[in-house]
Amino acid sequence: MGMGGAGALPRRRLSTAGGKGQGRVVPGFRLSLGITLFYAAIIICLPLATLILVGARLGPADYWAVVSSPRALASYRVTLGAAALATMFNTVYGFALAWVLVRYEFPGRRVLDAIVDLPFALPTAVAGVALTAIFAKNGWFGEPLGALGIKVAYTPIGIALAMAFTSLPFIVRTLQPVMEELDGEIEEAARTLGAGTVTIFFRVVLPILVPALLAGVSLAFARCLGEFGAVIFIAGNQPYSTEITALLAFIRIEEYDYPAAAAIATVMLGTAFVLLVVTNAVQALARRHELAP
């Protein structure tokens, strides 16, 4: 695979040198670009642009009143807090999971590798009802945890749990390919030079993986902020304490308060854009790191 990538590089340079249009040998440029642009305009850009327009029509004073209302602020706090908790958990667990998959050979490794994608493939509503059943008062985990005085379902911890479930694959799948390229030689060299295991991990391994880890973390965090299906079953959905922002927007729609829904949705969209820019910047950094000798 590494060889294939190296072989593709000069070819890519050649087609860049070809410039726009002229000298293209590969057919189908106009057709494929035409379909893509048409679809992107109608399916992706038109609705989002309309949302921004509706939000903008509100006027600054009304807009601010909606997005800074106490209930909205509480929902940001709940969403951001739970997303941060979920992402912290997944950073540690996802890192360990990717490490185990890449570094160790053991029975069931392939099954474990397949299972990592389950949160992608399983409908979020199914994850929501299943997690709620487990962590409810009389559930498998809810009962023993309740005896210890820990409540998960219908609390912010439950929200974080649902978010952690749906966003786990982002961190594992972003780390895995970079870990595969880390072949252990550098670590052996460091060991030969007298470094201990802890030193090697924090000063040799981790710095190489940090860009990929950050990219995975920002993807996972963005996913947590937008999650709806898995969360609403386990959240309790009490305004000011266990109501996420996505649910607040949903409730405003149910109440036919469309301007308020638009305002809250634009806040969510804006946050997603910011995170997207951050993710892309981190990934660009990661790519530069990869190319460095």
Binding site: V54, F106, V129
Partner: protein, 284 residues
């Protein structure tokens, strides 16, 4: 790549740490991912297999299953054609705005399904951009099948493209250039040269897209109108039964969706074995 050489013994690869790390990861995975799936099976079959099958045969549940299948039959081909076209344009050519186009294609991954649903409501809803026009022509898009299809199309748009773009970039343009030099025309090149090269990645993208189409919840819950037996997709029906305190019925419907998800993972594992490379399918 990873199969060929034995895993290197790195920093954490020796002594006691190895079985401990593996053990902890397996335990956490069993608790976090395994337990919810097991719970779906247990809850769905808690009243017996017969009861689960009976609740799936209820008219409302049957209608929900058919609606979800109908949506998949429309959306998956649309997003497959789009995914191939987008990957072809973005991976095989260089043009101004290419990076921006790539970002737009992947945008639905970053947007909350709720935001997607609300956006579509503002375009096609009664008070929306096209609302007056649609009403004048007696066309109903929101709270009906077309709205569900549109919102689902948005949410699952990037899946096929995302699998194909890294794959096509890795393979380069060499084969297509040779085909063109030998006199093949466009469609011949596509069907006889490119398609065989990308078929496994394409199939995985399609399978994953299908799973997400069947499972979409947030966007659809905004645009569907939740009319029982009419505009309720299967995930929405799970919620409805759940809130009706019909847990066994809700989990029976959830079990159907879980089986689709497990089948998706199974197909993926098979495809990875066929291609012999996990990296080609992860495509990040």
């Amino acid at each position: 790549m990873s199969q060929a050489s034995p895993p290197p013994t790195g920093a954490a690869g020796r002594g006691w740490s190895r079985p401990v790390v593996i053990g902890i990861v397996l335990l956490v995975t069993a608790l976090v991912i395994g337990a919810p799936v097991a719970a779906v099976f247990v809850q769905a079959l808690s009243q017996g297999v017969g009861y689960a099958l009976d609740s799936l045969a209820q008219p409302d549940t049957r209608a929900a299953i058919w609606l979800s299948i109908t949506v998949a039959i429309v959306v998956v081909p649309i997003n497959t054609v789009f995914g191939i076209a987008a990957a072809w344009a973005i991976a095989k050519f260089r043009f101004p705005g290419r990076k921006l186009l790539l970002a737009i294609v992947e945008l639905p991954f970053s947007v909350s399904p709720i935001v997607a649903g609300i956006s579509y409501l503002f375009v096609y809803g009664g008070q929306g951009l096209f609302g007056p026009f649609l009403e004048a022509h007696d066309l109903k898009i929101m709270f009906a099948l077309p709205g569900i299809i549109l919102a689902t199309t948005f949410v699952t748009a990037p899946f096929v493209a995302r699998e194909l773009i890294p794959l096509m970039q890795l393979q380069g343009n060499g084969d297509e250039e040779v085909a063109a030099t030998l006199g093949a025309h466009g469609w011949q090149t596509f069907f006889r040269v490119t398609l065989p090269n990308i078929r496994w990645g394409l199939l995985y993208g399609v399978v994953l897209c299908n799973a997400r189409v069947l499972g979409e919840f947030g966007a659809v819950s905004i645009v569907s109108g939740n009319i029982r037996g009419e505009t309720n997709t299967l995930p929405l029906h799970v919620e409805l039964l759940y809130h009706d305190y019909n847990a066994a019925g809700a989990f029976a419907a959830a079990l159907v969706l879980t089986l689709v998800a497990l089948l998706t993972l199974f197909v993926k594992t098979i495809l990875e074995r066929v291609t012999g490379s996990a990296g080609a399918l992860h495509g990040s």
